[in-house]
């Protein structure tokens, strides 16, 4: 029995993530700004306990090396948020560290997250219709930057920019967020939309078309 315990304990410590990535997240003190579990109180940085559901790995690795501003007014729990006073930028990591932390973050997922079946990519007509609804019916543009017809960023800044959402986010995460944001976060400043499934999945497809490559 003692041998079994010994093997289990050694196995835990020798498990690769325990040896490298987890310690790097700890060493970089990510938890001082980000929630790494849902049980913690809200923190000023975006939650990371579902990072593996939310982000696309190549974007995350690039971001950690060269952080760009996604929230011009800072994050919603930042005390200066309503005054547009952003706190310090996210620290930049070396390529090696960014790669290791990305691997670890991509393992942080929620159990039993629904898998949404997305429709085919939008044709021009559907895209134009959805853009119209994005701006007028659901007013998303009031809080989120997106691209206008001339390929220029436009829109409010209280929500994260969606200009490069197609490279940053996973489509399934967007679809689940639009259905029920509380799956991820108890408190958001965004209105809850009870979209029918067809609209919600079409919106997901539309958001995934927004990419930096579209900037002119």
């Amino acid at each position: 029995m003692k041998k079994l315990y010994l093997i289990l304990i050694c196995g835990w410590f020798l498990y690769p993530p325990m040896l490298s990535h987890a310690s790097l997240i700890e060493e970089k003190k990510c938890a001082s700004c980000h929630r790494l579990t849902k049980k913690e109180n809200e923190k000023k940085g975006p939650d990371l306990f579902y990072a593996g559901n939310k982000f696309k790995s190549p974007w995350l690795e690039k971001y950690l090396q060269n952080p760009v501003t996604l929230r011009k007014a800072g994050t919603i729990h930042n005390p200066g948020f309503l005054k547009g006073e952003r706190e310090n930028n996210h620290p930049s990591l070396s390529k090696e560290d960014a790669g290791k932390i990305t691997q670890e973050l991509m393992q942080m997922t929620l159990p039993d997250l629904p898998v949404e079946e997305l429709p085919d990519p939008l044709n021009k007509g559907q895209k134009a219709k959805t853009k119209y609804e994005f701006e007028r019916t659901f007013s998303c543009i009031s809080c989120h930057q997106s691209l206008n017809l001339a390929g220029k960023p436009r829109g409010g800044i209280s929500g994260p920019s969606l200009v490069d959402a197609g490279n940053r986010l996973q489509a399934n995460w967007v679809a689940v967020w639009l259905k029920n944001p509380k799956t991820f976060s108890e408190k958001s400043r965004m209105p809850v939309y009870k979209m029918d499934d067809e609209t919600r999945l079409r919106f997901t497809r539309f958001i995934m078309t927004l990419k930096n490559e579209g900037i002119r």
């Binding site: 309503l82 134009a128 007028r136 019916t137 009031s142 017809l149 409010g156 209280s158 209105p191 009870k194």
Partner: protein
């Protein structure tokens, strides 16, 4: 063959025309670029019976600390911390968010119109589409409290 070509060119012209109308509508009336604000529409006629949501509200509506907190959490993003229409999104919107401290406009609106605007969004009362619908986020009683809070901010009532 010529007749067929003519027909096809008419069809494609028609589709281009349809897209042009849609694109113009998006470009002109979105919320992300500045444009001059239209004058407020005249107040709704009050001859019709009051809507159900007001009839149901029997007890007096009281503004509490929770109401102010709700305003700060959701509304202040656009309407500003003090309700002056200068929130962090304000300068990025086509139509400036309403200044809730100014009575000139707000006294031309009934409480029910303010309730509708918050619950169903700006378009529902003929106003800017920048104002989203909060009816799935806030309860009717919270929205009634917010209407009362706006009345506090403008120090005005519906004329």
């Amino acid at each position: 063959m010529r007749a067929f070509d003519k027909l096809m060119s008419k069809i494609s012209l028609l589709s281009v025309f349809k897209y042009a109308i849609l694109i113009t509508a998006i470009g002109v009336s979105g919320c992300g670029e500045k444009q001059a604000e239209k004058p407020p529409p005249p107040p709704l006629k009050t001859e019709s019976p009051p809507p159900l949501s007001l009839k149901e509200e029997v007890s007096p509506v009281i503004v509490t600390a929770k109401t102010r907190e709700t305003y700060q959490w959701y509304c202040a993003q656009c309407h500003g911390i003090k309700g002056k229409g200068d929130g962090i999104n304000a300068k990025f919107l086509t139509v400036p968010p309403r200044n809730h401290t100014k009575a000139e406009y707000l006294e031309t609106r009934t409480d029910e119109q303010l309730f509708q605007a918050i619950k169903f969004g700006g378009l529902s009362v003929g106003r800017a589409p920048c104002m989203p619908a909060w009816g799935n986020t806030l309860s009717d009683s919270t929205i009634h409290e917010l209407v009362r809070y706006i009345r506090e901010l403008c120090q005005c009532e519906a004329l």
